[in-house]
Symmetry: C2
Subunit: 89 residues, 2 copies
């Protein structure tokens, strides 16, 4: 078993309107920021998990996203996986 | 002017309890996932902006995080910046 850190980004699909992002654009413009073209707001989830190998960890994280973390109807997810040192001595 | 995409991750500071993350851990365990050690839930924000150069874009994004996007009391932010092709012809 090894320990892995999955850094998952979950964003609304490109064709789905993002009202939270539009609100942030307005807020930034009100604060005086120029040159803002677009803002999209999504979730960043970091999952630390134990798995037999990198491939098993990848399968587990994909399944977590499919079953719980992302809404497949309106969201896409991507993730990076890296082996990390286990915390226990 | 060039166009940049900033991919910003905003997470609760390590010492701040993350109730949303704990809820996700419970949900994953209920779904039968083993070996989950920890989950932290944060925000992922993608800002597309025009700036004179990479350094100016970096300054602008840092200021956006400080002033609006992140709560400096309980959150830390990190971002990656990449030049992208402008959309207009």
């Amino acid at each position: 078993m090894a320990r892995y850190l999955a850094r998952i980004d979950i964003m609304l699909k490109v064709l789905v309107k993002d009202p939270q992002g539009l609100t942030v654009v307005d807020g930034l413009k009100t604060l005086g920021f120029d040159g803002i073209d677009d803002v999209r707001v999504g979730k960043h989830i970091e999952v630390t998990l134990d798995a037999g190998d990198q491939a098993a960890a990848e399968r587990a994280v994909t399944e977590m996203c499919d079953k719980l973390l992302a809404n497949p109807v309106i969201e896409d997810f991507t993730f990076e996986l890296a082996e990390v040192a286990a915390a226990e001595a």
